[in-house]
């Protein structure tokens, strides 16, 4: 690990000020950042501990729920309001990582966790995300936990989060704060960037900007499912996952919000899939169509070709369950 300074501020303004340089980073649970620092994939010269800023509360407001950025994944999954009103989020969190990791991992850190592409982790290989312009070893290497949607010729890295997939289906937005004390809200659909030619830039966060909270509006549907398919039954990242938030009315789908993990370079949601389902009566033909639409622009490689049929099947299974 490279040497770094550490500050542990108790004021938000001090935290943003401390982290205003190119080479500074916030540290929350540390479960991703410390891992990457040990491998020298990340080499910040300054760390700001944000665990003492009082961002660890969950509050109900008129719109829904405001989740502080340092609320742990465990506390969020176990919160009785989340379990009742946003169960797909509890389910997604509980399907991720392990008990110990969830006790440390935070809401903000989970959104910003880096890809698990093995070449990103291996500093001896080419990786445009880690070393811009060096190439992409994954394109000619082992592919499995890589994306098929939203990829570019420069990077096919997958966004690994489960939590963020549920949050996309729930229309979450993030609350941000910068060193000047300016605060803004950004919908998750506008928060992440596609890799394009600059896979090293993953979000629209500005330097020194801190995630202070995630807002969840009241859920658009009472029928909520999270289904995760992986290489082992527990403690593994998703090969494919689907979060579904649905409302039925008179035998028809009145509201549909589907989001996908294991497929996209960012937690994936496709408005055309939702639009196709809304107003329709559930049927196998409809579900097949939804799968076709979802995969219309999929770019597969040898190691990721299985994700097209697998993704369609998981989508069908989830739609069957959630419309039953």
């Amino acid at each position: 690990m490279r040497p770094f300074d550490l500050t542990r501020p108790e004021e938000l303004s001090a935290a943003c000020r401390d982290t205003n340089g190119e080479n500074a980073a916030f540290i929350a649970g540390g479960t991703n950042l410390i891992d990457l620092m040990k491998l020298e994939v990340e080499t910040p010269g300054h760390l700001t501990d944000i665990s003492r800023l009082g961002l660890d509360g969950i509050e109900t407001d008129a719109q829904g729920l405001r989740i502080g950025a340092t609320v742990t994944n465990s506390d969020l999954a176990a919160d009785t309001r989340v379990r009742e009103g946003w169960p797909v989020l509890s389910r997604a969190l509980l399907a991720g990582a392990s008990g110990q990791l969830r006790n440390k991992a935070t809401t903000g850190g989970n959104l910003l966790q880096r890809t698990r592409c093995p070449y990103f982790y291996d500093t001896d290989t080419a990786c445009n995300k880690r070393a811009p312009g060096s190439g992409c070893a994954a394109l000619k290497g082992e592919q499995r936990n890589h994306a098929i949607l939203g990829t570019s010729d420069h990077c096919i890295a997958l966004h690994p989060s489960d939590m963020a997939v549920a949050m996309r289906a729930l229309d979450a937005s993030v609350e941000l704060c910068d060193a000047e004390g300016e605060s803004r809200r950004v919908g998750l659909e506008k928060f992440y960037r596609l890799p394009g030619k600059t896979p090293e830039r993953e979000t629209h966060l500005r330097p020194g900007e801190l995630i202070t909270a995630v807002h969840l509006p009241k859920a658009g549907g009472d029928r909520q499912v999270y289904r995760k398919v992986r290489d082992r039954a527990s403690y593994a990242f998703a090969l494919v996952s689907v979060a579904a938030v649905l409302r039925m009315k008179g035998g028809r789908i009145a509201h549909a919000a589907l989001a996908f993990g294991g497929l996209g370079t960012q937690p994936w949601r496709d408005p055309e899939v939702d639009a196709l389902l809304e107003g329709e009566t559930p049927s196998q033909a409809l579900f097949d169509k939804a799968g076709e639409v979802l995969m219309r622009d999929a770019v597969v490689h040898e190691g990721t070709a299985f994700k097209v049929p697998l993704g369609k099947r998981v989508l069908t299974a989830v739609l069957k369950e959630v419309t039953a």
Binding site: P3, R8, I34, D35, G99, Q100, L101
Partner: protein, 166 residues
């Protein structure tokens, strides 16, 4: 950097490089070598300790981030006599080489607390409880602790017995 760690009821004032993980502070600086280093990357659970009342992987945290925290390691679980959980591991042969055992035991202790608070898990039928300790629930909740000797049946039985007894 000055760091105070309250480990198993005793306070320690340390002056550490910011890079020292909680695991290395416990093992190399406080000589509490009960906590083990397996992967050093959050993947095996051998380094599990209880910090601020919750089980965590001490390899993926920095000592400096735990300034002032109460930490419990396997050394803090018993004085002269083993705790019920530890005795159950012995009775059920919950180990062979023993390398993963301190992590398994600290993790189980934290997990039993989570169960008693009614936290659901990935395999819980419903999210609104009540949660009962079953083999399946324990296997899921302990999935962050790997055992290279594959003593899972004994580990699971030991934890189940302890959960039912408490």
């Amino acid at each position: 950097m000055k760091v105070t760690l309250n480990v198993n009821g005793a306070s320690h004032w340390l002056d550490l490089d910011t890079r020292v993980t909680l695991l290395d502070a416990l093992r190399d600086h406080l000589k509490l070598t009960g906590t083990k280093k397996g992967c050093d990357h959050g993947q095996c659970g051998a380094c599990t300790v209880i910090a601020g009342g919750r089980r965590i992987n001490s390899c993926l945290s920095l000592a400096a981030l735990h300034d002032g925290d109460e930490i419990t390691t396997v050394e803090g679980l018993s004085d002269d006599e083993l705790s019920d959980l530890q005795s159950a591991f012995v009775a059920h042969d919950g180990m062979q080489c023993g390398y993963c055992t301190p992590g398994q035991i600290c993790s189980a202790l934290g997990m039993l607390g989570e169960l008693s608070e009614g936290w659901p898990s990935h395999v819980s039928e419903t999210l609104d409880g009540p949660v009962r300790p079953t083999r399946e629930e324990i296997a899921e909740r302990m999935s962050g602790n790997l055992c290279r000797c594959s003593c899972y049946p004994g580990i699971n039985a030991a934890i189940l017995e302890t959960a039912e007894g408490s």
